[in-house]
């Protein structure tokens, strides 16, 4: 039974974008909450507190956008565990079966612990939703950002966003999506910890090292 070997699962771009996203979301959330409801931190008007907070927010926004786009690109050129099919288990009967199995385990209905090598099927579909939220954040964020330079290339390129949202509605969406992502982060850390304990598959260390212990063929 303990015929385990270490398998290289998470390639470098997967791990790098994961941790860049993590850091970016932390920085963007902290600076974003300050921008949304600032406290008076400056003693005189020649200070630049909000200015620097916004600067950090915008630069980090660019970093996050590059990271997300890189990960989407890697979904088409990376290994099978990074591939876009991992995030669409609903497309295959096997994927749907695995989603159900994972759901039964999570809800205490089923006893069998699934032992996936890559993402578990339920996590895969969740990450698809998370990436949709990422894109919502990037698009609303940059659309609002371009308002400082009307008629610029960026403002025109994202002009269609203002047909989908009112200006205030876009701000509300940008705010609420942050909270959805923070709720996801809580779920994500908990689930990783739970499955690390239950699968004994070193899932937490795998996002640092890239390797997971795997039994079976090979």
């Amino acid at each position: 039974m303990d015929n385990l070997h270490n398998k290289y699962v998470w390639e470098v771009p997967v791990r790098v974008t994961h941790w860049v996203n993590f850091l970016a979301i932390v920085i963007l959330s902290v600076t974003g909450v300050y921008i949304g409801s600032p406290k008076t931190l400056a003693l005189n008007p020649s200070q630049f507190v909000m200015g620097w907070v916004r600067f950090i927010h915008f630069v980090t926004g660019y970093v996050f956008a590059v990271s997300v786009i890189s990960r989407i690109y890697w979904a088409f050129v990376g290994n099978r565990y990074a591939e876009w099919r991992e995030f669409l288990p609903v497309l295959t009967a096997d994927g749907r079966r695995q989603m159900l199995e994972m759901f039964r385990y999570y809800t205490f209905i089923g006893k069998r612990v699934p032992h996936p090598v890559g993402h578990n099927a339920l996590a895969g579909i969740t990450y698809l939703l998370v990436f949709v939220l990422y894109l919502v954040m990037i698009l609303t964020g940059f659309a609002l950002y371009t308002e400082h330079a009307p008629q610029s290339f960026g403002h025109k390129a994202l002009g269609w966003m203002f047909l989908l949202f009112s200006n205030q509605g876009m701000r509300l969406t940008h705010h609420m999506t942050m909270w959805f992502l923070l709720a996801f982060a809580i779920h994500h850390v908990y689930s990783a910890w739970l499955m690390d304990v239950k699968e004994k598959g070193r899932v937490i260390s795998s996002i640092f090292s890239g390797y997971k212990p795997v039994s079976g063929k090979n």
Binding site: M1, D2, L4, K7, V9, G36, S37, P38, K39, T40, A42, N44, P45, S46, F48, V49, M50, G51, Y106, F108, K111, R112, V113, H115, V117, E147, H148, P150, Q151, G159, S166, N167, Q168, G169, R171, L172, H175, M176, M178, W179, F180, L182, A183, I186, H187, Y190, S191, W193, L194, V197, K198, E199, K200, G201, R202, P213, V214, S215, G216, N218
Partner: protein, 373 residues
């Protein structure tokens, strides 16, 4: 306005003006006239070298006819235009125009007035300028606003459809404004939606800044065409920048100095009104530089946040006026996005904590690691 036209009524649209005579009659010095022309070139964001060209245009221009229509409105834009405390110079520009129809200020009434309008449309087709104030109701065949037995939409189609250009003065004429606010019982819309074929330039604002109207007319008289506009049909010289980016309180925003409560020490010192719900960061208008009432002041200058009155559907989308973000649909009035979001995060953490406790006591299989299928 309209004074001095008595001897030549509509129909004499192609007549030269004797500007020096008009200036003298009104007691305006050449110097004041040139100052006005310089101010106009500044309002239009033109180099100061354009001032002589504007002066020449105003002196030499053939007088185009202007008709001013009022529909679902409060006449606030007419008020804004007429109340100019030092009107002589700005009013000149409108004297340059032959104002043949303006319900609020014209002497004629009833059928006599409607005849004057009909005459303009007939004799000046494609040459006159129409100014529309107020929204146009479309529901139930437009019965909610009728003048002389005709619906507003019917009048607008004829007058705006045959004009050289239509200036939508104020937020109601530009985007429907307050009459179009939810639930919009009359089906009110702006001019462009009511008469899609018309050439419309939007000058929203509640009220519009009369300087912007004067500048638009001066631009037309000087260059023979309307100023270039953004995707909402608003001229860029007046709506090309956010209030937030030209605001006199902006240094306090960047520094991080905010009014927390009306009348607190930050408010008395003139700090940023961002937390009081100021909509300057989402409103495109030249209020901070052009200001109202002869450049006397403007809302943020007077200590009140911007309410975004020149943006489309501001009454629905910019409320609540004293909060940064809109309320979340389906939740109580006092629920803000952040309260709901923090609640969501706490609830998520609590749910997974409970799940974790249960999981800790589960008996699972003893296999380790991943399994290849």
């Amino acid at each position: 306005m309209g004074k001095g036209n008595d001897e030549d009524k509509a129909g004499s649209g192609e007549r030269m003006l004797d500007m020096p005579a008009i200036l003298e009659k009104r007691g305006i010095s050449r110097r004041d006239f040139m100052k006005f022309c310089t101010a106009m070139s500044a309002a239009l964001a033109l180099p100061v070298t354009f001032a002589p060209r504007i002066a020449r245009a105003l002196e030499e221009v053939k007088r185009p006819t202007l008709v001013w229509l009022e529909f679902q409105d409060c006449a606030g834009n007419t008020e804004a235009l007429l109340r100019a405390s030092n009107p002589t110079v700005a009013e000149l520009v409108l004297d340059v125009l032959s104002v043949d129809y303006h319900e609020t200020i014209m002497a004629a009434a009833g059928h006599q007035a409607e005849e004057a309008l009909a005459k303009v449309i007939k004799e000046q087709r494609g040459k006159y300028i129409a100014v529309v104030e107020g929204s146009i109701p479309l529901r139930d065949d437009g019965v909610y606003c009728c003048i002389g037995g005709r619906s507003a939409v019917d009048i607008a189609r004829e007058v705006c459809g045959n004009a050289f250009a239509t200036i939508a003065a104020g937020s109601c004429a530009a985007f429907g404004g307050i009459p179009a606010a939810a639930p919009n019982p009359t089906g009110a819309v702006g001019v462009k939606d009511a008469v899609p074929g018309a050439t419309v330039i939007n000058l929203p604002g509640c009220p519009l800044n009369p300087d912007n109207l004067t500048a638009t007319v001066v631009h037309f008289l000087t260059f023979g065409r309307l100023p270039s506009a953004d995707s909402l049909g608003r001229p860029l010289f007046a709506y090309g920048k956010r209030i937030h980016d030209a605001c006199e309180r902006r240094p306090h925003f960047d520094a991080g100095q905010y009014v927390e409560q009306w009348g607190d020490s930050a408010h008395r010192k003139g700090h940023c009104l961002y937390k009081m719900g100021c909509k300057g960061p989402e409103t495109f208008h030249n209020c901070p530089t052009q200001r109202y009432n002869e450049k006397t002041s403007w809302p943020v200058g007077a200590g009140h946040g911007c309410v975004g009155c020149s943006e489309p559907m501001f009454w629905d989308t910019m409320t609540p006026f004293y909060k940064r973000l809109p309320t979340v649909p389906g939740f109580g009035i006092e629920s803000t996005a952040d309260k709901i979001g923090a609640g969501l995060a706490v609830a998520t953490a609590a749910a997974f904590a409970a799940h974790g406790v249960v999981s800790a006591f589960r008996h699972d299989d003893k296999s380790r690691g991943g399994k290849e299928e």
